[in-house]
Symmetry: D2
């Protein structure tokens, strides 16, 4: 059992989330994707062809920021605001989809883009699955 699950199980009141498995999956996917996007932007900066990767770097940075904030918002069960939660998960799904699309253009040349694109696709799906339960 991950610490994310342990913390959710230790919450002292009934959970706001209808589907805790989808919630745990989405928090984990957001954290993984945020880290991967930060590292991918940095790896792109280290490539000799950095000027070809400018859009990828920028998209990575934005996706990293939004995924990190989404993980934080989803980690709170107290006094939830459904509209805000839905809006941030929608933004996260959008950012992950856009970043995956950009990284996939470079996946055949850059392993970091391939790994990052997969993390983005997992996070995009986890957001979609969570939205379906909200």
């Amino acid at each position: 059992m991950s610490v994310i699950e342990e913390m959710l199980n230790a919450y002292p009141k009934p959970l706001a989330a209808a589907d805790t498995a989808a919630l745990v999956e989405c928090i984990a996917a957001c954290l993984e994707c945020s880290q991967a996007c930060t590292a991918c932007a940095d790896a792109c900066l280290a490539e000799d062809m950095v000027s070809d990767l400018v859009a990828c770097i920028r998209t990575d940075l934005g996706c990293a920021d939004i995924c990190a904030t989404t993980a934080t918002i989803l980690s709170r069960q107290t006094a939830p605001d459904a509209a805000t939660m839905r809006a941030i998960v929608e933004a996260c799904r959008t950012a992950c989809s856009s970043c995956a699309e950009e990284c996939e253009k470079h996946s055949h040349m850059h392993e970091h883009c391939r790994v990052c694109a997969e993390a983005c696709r997992r996070c995009e799906k986890a957001c979609a699955d969570l939205l379906a339960t909200l």
Copy 2:
């Protein structure tokens, strides 16, 4: 001229933003609101009646996180993704509206809630104004 404007003016390519005044205003409002929400959550924690302010603390924390991320995303002009930008500004407007509503319940008793509610309403409006230009 604020540093936000100076940095925007120093951007070396044509700006993605159609209305730079609305963009500068929204970045400034997001930074101000994020700080106010962080401080309001903290001031609520210091109140003797903290148990009456639990929803306010939680809403403040979420609004602070989303405003900070929105300020960061809006500070980038390179390779913008319109769908992601729109989605995060929508999420920010939603979070500010929800936080203003919650803080307004306590504005007559707690000055920090009054000041924070006003910062949230300014940021909500700045997000709406920016969305109208996107």
Copy 3:
């Protein structure tokens, strides 16, 4: 192999880190601890005795912020600044130590504090181990 390791292996230049295992461990521990602290602050807010947990909430929030930023800084290998890296890992170790100490006071009563304290101690150790290699 975790995505953190995959991304590190995909970095196109020689790594700045002398000990990649310690680096991976520290990034993972920071992400885990940041999420646990966010969730612990939220669980404390949901306790009937929230007024007894004010210091724990505040310490959790600060530790969550610092761990998240440390994970981000450590995820970058390009053009590293040794002084900044050392300073942020020191700050993270200090925050984790302080948060663990606070959460341990409530571990016998609140399972979320027990789980969070353990995450803080793991992250404190991971920071210390990484500092020893810098």
Copy 4:
């Protein structure tokens, strides 16, 4: 009076900070510097000579992250931990000094580096001034 000051004045208990003017100045400088560094990294990405600005981009990104977290930590007065506060302000001063030094190398060629370097120097000084009061 800025919202930062209004929020500090509205805090319901005695302030932890010995010198509130230095505290307000440091929070404002951290927010300004964080935004400037985010925008400078983005402007560097948009330069034709992006490959010459890789170190600047990376240093900007790290400085932006640390300044944002420092502003958040300093915005809380409740149950402060002196060691953590000192450590994060030290990290912020270090990051600002390093980022200013890097940006100053490009200030004659790039206005965004000039403006950003000045914001970093102001924040470095504000951190030093605050540390002197802790």
